[in-house]
Amino acid sequence: MEIKENIREFVVENFLFGDGDELENNTDFFEKSIIDSTGILELVCFVEESCNLTISDEEIVQENFSSVDRVSDFVQKRTSNSSQ
């Protein structure tokens, strides 16, 4: 499964109880109160597990984790960096 779909499925299942109709890939998790601060750590934990990454404290910022698109971009950037 594509990384983006994986992340989307996680957010829909875990924070929206399976109802993803209102979630666009660029919907801001914080503006729409979809995920709170500990929820972000759950998302970080999920990304690490499913993409085999370790994410530093500096990278756990809004810019990287505020929407499905942004998380997906971050993961792609990280995985392409580590494979170079």
Binding site: F10, E13, N14, S37, T38, L41, E48, T54
Partner: protein
């Protein structure tokens, strides 16, 4: 459901007295009040008390094969017996009863020991092969039904319960300090051990064969593990379809009985799913049973009501009050036969009494789902600590624990404690016991209350004692798989299925059945990647997703509420002061000699003085009280109570 006991001469024929068999079975009447049958020859004696559930007429045991060379006594159920029987009839076997018990004896004839793999059930049994002079005893995969044994004066004794062995005068009755040390570490004895010196238990998924006086113990099933390469790569919807299909079939098999089957309903996810499936697919007149608590902290009544409103079951409930929990605890310990660190078995004992009063003999319960689907907080805690351990110096990572314990995050004073408490071992996430080390190390503080005579002076580290139970390459497993294995090995059979399961249900002649512990479902879930079981920090995610559309939203989304019962409020209640004094006065503690009477007195005073008390002090109180009761009821009596002034309904005497 039944009680079984027996004696085998190991070296030479020796008369097995009828009174011996009567004494052994007389203390198991609660397990089988309907009929009593016995067999003896020059080498072996078997005795059985029956609670009739399948093949009610003509099912008295022991049961034999066609030429009467094999004899069986059986406790439990084989749920797939009709399918097995059909094949055996095709192979030419003749049946004289309609029981599941008779199926086993013919399967044994047909396949030898390998037939155990064919069984889907919960059982403990003994087969005596009088021609070969071999005894064969076995226990179900996960250890639902009990089976104890010991050897004394060249005789092998076995029974469903230890008290039956103790009716025999030459069997010694002493507390085993090393098991006490285990309970005060892992919360239960290790598999195969009991609190009594020299008395063993057949471990789950194991059998014993005794031939030519020699005893061999073997395992035929272990909790399965599949590496990442062997796991299934299925979509979420395919996984949930398979879970629903397997659980449906498991419930269908577990409704097989010639008597009505009820269900326990706690208001939690697991029992709600079972009641809902039974109600919608099999029996819309289902009887359900629930526990309420006087103490609101423990009560789940609102959730129970929500389920009952949806399902419209005939619901019955008990309200467990603090006094009752304390006053019944000694009786419960007589049934449990081991010290425990919780009073939670007591309400379940009161509940089975209600089931019995309502005329039911069988109920389904939700135990096992937390182990198989990843429901316990200790699993989530290990996951959050593993996340932290990937970067131990991180300031942000420890905050994931706030998902489990929000009160710590919200309290600025408690926050620094979080790092100190949960940071234990954070630098060694590869450690085999990483998930359980905080629990076990804290529980071990309870050993400080032991007197010098009972302190474990062994040099062996308490972790090392567990090592022999770890499978090969254990450390290659992922974090959740490791903690599931530790929890199942230490806690499932010896506490949950026993002290909160078989023993407290059978105390009132009630058989409990566990749909989540069908081995096919266990095996399927072992093939599912751990990250999907606890999705993020969402426990039992796959089970929730499978039944999200059929249960009320509140039941699916509610936070996990561990089933617990009040301790200090019950045991130290003024209304129970005479009971407490009987077992735990300073003088009694000193005379019994297991605990240090000065330290225990300080603990009791501290608990009485302050309204709030911490979990470890409560566990210490339960551990000390229950050990004192076990000593009083099992070790202290000079003459162990039993009776033999009754007649067998069936007696086969083959002595020559």
């Amino acid at each position: 459901m039944c009680g079984i006991s027996g004696i085998l001469n190991l070296k030479e024929p020796k008369n097995i007295e009828i009174t011996q068999l009567k004494e052994m079975i007389s203390v198991l009447e609660h397990r089988g009040p309907d009929e009593v049958g016995a067999y003896r020859d020059n080498w072996a004696g078997l005795v059985h008390s029956r609670l009739s559930i399948i093949g009610i007429k003509g099912g008295i045991q022991p049961i034999h094969n066609e030429d009467k060379s094999l004899w069986i006594i059986f406790n439990g159920e084989i749920f797939n017996y009709p399918e097995l029987k059909e094949n055996l009839i095709k192979q030419g076997h003749k049946f004289y009863t309609t029981t599941d018990t008779e199926v086993i004896i013919h399967l044994y004839e047909e396949k030898g020991i390998d037939f155990l793999q064919k069984l889907n059930g919960q059982f403990a049994f003994a087969i005596w092969d009088s021609k070969k002079r071999e005894m064969f005893l076995a226990r179900d995969r996960v250890g639902i039904r009990p089976l104890h044994y010991t050897v004394s004066n060249n005789q092998f004794f076995f029974s469903s319960e230890v008290k039956s062995l103790f009716t025999q005068k030459n069997i010694k009755r002493n507390i085993d300090p090393s098991t006490l040390d285990q309970i005060f570490s892992y919360w239960t004895p290790l598999p195969g051990e009991t609190i009594f010196e020299g008395i063993k238990e057949v471990p789950p998924g194991s059998y014993i064969r005794i031939s030519s006086g020699k005893l061999s113990l073997k395992k035929y099933w272990s909790y399965p593990y599949y590496s990442e390469d062997e796991q299934l790569d299925l979509s979420l919807s395919n996984i949930t379809e398979e879970i629903k299909s397997l659980l449906y079939d498991s419930i269908k098999l577990r409704l097989r009985a010639d008597v009505p089957v009820g269900a326990y309903l706690s208001g939690g996810l697991d029992s709600s799913i079972i009641a809902s499936v039974v109600n919608s697919s099999f029996d819309n007149h289902l009887n359900t049973f629930g526990i309420r608590f006087e103490d609101k902290e423990f009560d789940e009544g609102d959730y129970q009501k929500e389920m009952i409103n949806q399902l419209k079951t005939n619901h019955f409930e008990i309200v467990a009050n603090n006094k009752e929990i304390g006053s019944n605890f000694p009786n419960v310990l007589w049934n449990i036969e081991k010290p425990v660190l919780r009073t939670a078995p007591v309400p379940l004992y009161l509940l089975s009494n209600l089931v019995h009063q309502k005329g039911l003999k069988v109920v389904l319960t939700g135990e096992g789902a937390d182990e198989i689907f990843g429901g316990y907080n200790i699993f989530r805690e290990a996951k959050a600590r593993s996340f932290w351990a990937r970067n131990p110096s991180s300031e942000i990572r420890p905050l994931l624990l706030g998902k489990l314990y929000p009160y710590i995050l919200n309290d600025t004073k408690l926050r620094p404690m979080l790092k100190a408490f949960f940071g234990v071992g954070i630098d060694k996430p590869e450690f085999s016991y990483f998930s359980h080390q905080i629990r076990w190390q804290n529980t071990r503080k309870l050993t400080n209350f032991l007197s010098n005579d009972f302190s474990n002076n062994s040099e062996q580290n308490f972790y090392d004692r567990f090592n022999s139970f770890l499978p090969e390459n254990f450390n290659n497993r992922d974090s959740l798989s490791k903690s599931q294995y530790l929890e199942i090995t230490s806690f499932l059979s010896n506490y949950l299925l026993s002290s909160q399961g078989d023993r407290v249900a059978m105390a009132h002649s009630v058989e409990i059945r566990f749909p989540y512990l069908d081995h096919r479902l266990i095996d399927f879930m072992a093939k599912i990647p751990s990250r999907l079981k606890i999705f993020g920090m969402n426990e039992k995610f796959l089970l929730k997703k499978s039944y999200r559309d059929t249960l009320p939203k509140n039941i699916v989304t509610r936070s996990k509420h561990p089933y617990r019962a009040p301790i200090k409020q019950s045991l130290l209640s003024e209304k129970n002061s005479k009971i407490f004094e009987k077992y735990c006065s300073t003088e009694t503690i000193k005379n019994v000699g297991i605990f240090d009477e000065i330290k225990t007195e300080k603990l009791f005073k501290k608990l009485s003085k302050f309204e709030n008390s911490n979990e470890w002090d409560n566990m210490a109180l339960t551990g000390i009280f229950s050990t004192q009761v076990i000593y009083d009821k099992f070790v202290q009596p000079s003459n162990f109570g039993n009776r033999s002034n009754f007649e067998f309904d069936l007696l086969i005497d083959k002595r020559k």
